[in-house]
Symmetry: none
Subunit: 425 residues, 2 copies
């Protein structure tokens, strides 16, 4: 089953409203084993809508429309559907009843314009709207061909999807699609591409890498008539990829660097403390995005000035004079200093040049040092980010590098079953 | 001039990634007086991309493509463009140089697959990518017909748009559209709606409110053949709105609460220091997103544990026992404590329940206290956010409330020309 999503609305085409409906529907369809092949976003113009419907009806089994079901004159999706399939619009009494009830419940006289919302293409069935006045439709307009129309208001659309459309479509679809994302950090996209080139050429499972900031996400999409077969296809490809990407891999689907770190810290009963300069509190904020992080986060510092570095976490003035605030030694002393001050098991210090000003030929914008220590070890890492990135991007990437080095530190230094701990994360 | 936006990528069509590019581009085009008539989102399939380009070239003057310019085998947008217009792909030496330089600057051997990114359709000009390896193209393929291709990575696309494409297209467009956004915080959308109802009914300028998290943005869109007329139309409506919204207004277009605060702090030669609990470093991170913030940020703390609150910033154990960590008194003592420790002019303390667990009937998730002080004053504010919001949303909103109270504190306490200081921000 192949689907096409058509979203109607000037506000979408002109960019006034972000189109979250298309993403929601595509995801939901995929979870039913229905692949979308295209989204088309058109204005409130009858010919544009009609043309998109006619085109889609030739190559897709399922056409999903959103928007243009309101009571005003520019709401013309039903007209477009009727015209595309050359049928009349007729008053649907169920729909009219529902609309009347909607207003009665609010003690409001139904505006005449709302009566229009009960007009649906002859042959179609209404999809009740539990939260608004605009009913949708569902219509098998041909053997194995379906069209559904929803209001454009995201809340109404999703309610109608969940309450009625989803189950209807579930019964139509036969294929099983299994999708998994393998997230990696610290490796360029092209290098990942080289490692998995042969897998990317396969048809099933489909394997494709995507870049989300510093993270390279490899998506595996396996399909089969049998659910078990789809799962085993996916599992085999996953194993093969993980064998090739090793420690670059950090987690699945909704895992984040900070959620993986959370699992590692809790498993080993460790606490961590951060002293930030260039990232300005972002690492601390990311770590506390995880619910339950108060178990391992006690005290973090943003030591932005030299004085704060000296007075709070004991960075030596000597080091700052000899090597500068952005240096290997400063990062190390920050890590040690915050570990001591907080009494935590692990300390992390980060210093760098977030830009856009403050760079020199020797220390360009994007230069970052990350120190990480526990009672036994003290590592320092140098990262040179692209100097031309905007400030917040450098902060974000520096933060992700620091989190990734912290993850690797935890894997290296603590005697746990490394493989398992990531995979369970 | 009529535009069509074509976004390429399986991840968009399957709903894995929200399509923010199309909205950005449609908005930007509109600001140049160029109306979009359609968006088409297609998979990484050469025939689908080619078909969309051919269709668009018949009805639009400007075709904008995003995505599919990466180094991997499924990146085929350039091939599709070449094929649609029946030209060859040739190596562009400028592009190749830029890609080589990109890797040289990072001391990394260029992967062979990246060479592919220098292949562009014969006749096209490259759009330099200042932040990544994939160049774009701009190509007048016929009289009054243009095609532009950008990478799909949003920040690469936006940088390239801002640095080169926008000016190019500005010269093509003829209509004068002036757009301005007035940003407000701390007032519900419906209340803003009541205040500007009459203005929203006008055709030119068009006035419409949008909600971006806690910020209510009122967009004014004025059009005229004459640039001066468009500007004066806009100016008059802006004045009228500002008269009605007062202190809720904090800035224009790209202003943020933190950028406005930056202006206020620098003007008054003040420093500020933050002690965070529930926001976990987010306020500190936001404040340091502003370039030059080291002028007024010296030391911030994330005192997540009670011990950190007691030991570092002198919150009394008594207060914590009697009122709890999430209380008016704790917020006040945190503000005072961090002000003293840092030696800064202003102290801000924030404590609350970010959820999803940890709430009680008396202190539900979303309860936040914000203390702000200088040497003369100590204020505390209570905010109850929607308990059902996800954790990161509560953190974000709590942070924005704190920043907004800090902004108001600065306006109230420091004898500056208040009106001017915001408007210049």
């Amino acid at each position: 089953m192949i689907a096409e999503i058509i979203c109607v609305g000037d506000e979408l085409v002109l960019g006034e409203v972000l189109n979250t409906n298309a993403q929601f529907l595509a995801k939901e369809l995929l979870s039913l084993g229905i692949n979308s092949q295209k989204h088309t976003i058109v204005k409130d113009k009858i010919n544009d809508i009609k043309y998109a419907i006619n085109k889609a009806s030739k190559t897709s089994n399922i056409i999903i429309l959103t928007g243009g079901l309101g009571p005003t004159d520019d709401d013309i999706t039903m007209q477009a559907v009727a015209s595309a399939f050359d049928v009349d619009l007729t008053i649907n009494n169920d729909a009219l009843n529902n609309i009347e009830k909607f207003f009665q419940a609010r003690n409001i006289q139904m505006p005449i314009s709302n009566k229009k919302q009960a007009l649906i293409p002859q042959g179609a069935t209404i999809l009740k709207n539990p939260v608004g006045t605009a009913p949708g439709i569902i219509w098998k307009f041909k053997q194995n061909k379906f069209i559904l129309a929803f209001p454009g208001v995201p809340y109404e659309m999703t309610e109608m999807w969940i309450q009625s459309a989803k189950d209807y479509l579930k019964n139509i679809s036969s294929k099983n699609i299994k999708i998994k994302n393998l997230k990696h950090f610290g490796i360029p996209e092209a290098k990942i591409g080289e490692k998995i080139k042969d897998l990317m050429e396969e048809d099933n499972p489909q394997v494709a890498p995507y870049v989300d900031n510093g993270t390279i996400r490899i998506r595996i999409n396996a399909q089969d008539e049998s659910k078990e077969k789809a799962e085993s296809l996916l599992k085999n490809t996953e194993k093969e990829i993980l064998k090739r990407t090793g420690r670059y891999f950090y987690g699945y689907d909704n895992d984040t660097l900070e959620s993986v770190i959370s699992v590692l810290l809790k498993k080993n009963n460790l606490t961590v403390s951060i002293a930030e300069s260039c990232t300005g509190g972002l690492i601390s904020s990311k770590l506390t995005d995880v619910s339950g992080s108060s178990k391992y986060i006690k005290l973090n510092l943003v030591t932005y000035s030299n004085e704060a570095k000296i007075n709070m976490i004991n960075v030596s003035e000597q080091t700052l004079i000899a090597h500068g605030a952005v240096s290997q030694d400063t990062a190390k002393e920050m890590a040690k200093g915050i570990q001591k001050l907080s009494g935590c098991d692990i300390g992390l210090g980060i210093t760098g040049i977030a830009g856009p000003t403050g760079g020199t030929p020797e220390k360009p914008v994007g230069l970052v040092y990350i120190g990480i220590c526990d009672n036994k070890k003290l590592n320092v890492h140098k990262v040179q980010l692209n100097s031309k990135l905007p400030r917040f991007k450098i902060k974000t990437l520096a933060c992700d590098y620091a989190l990734n080095y912290l993850r690797i530190f935890l894997l290296n230094e603590f005697s746990i079953n490394k493989k398992t701990s990531i995979i369970e994360a």
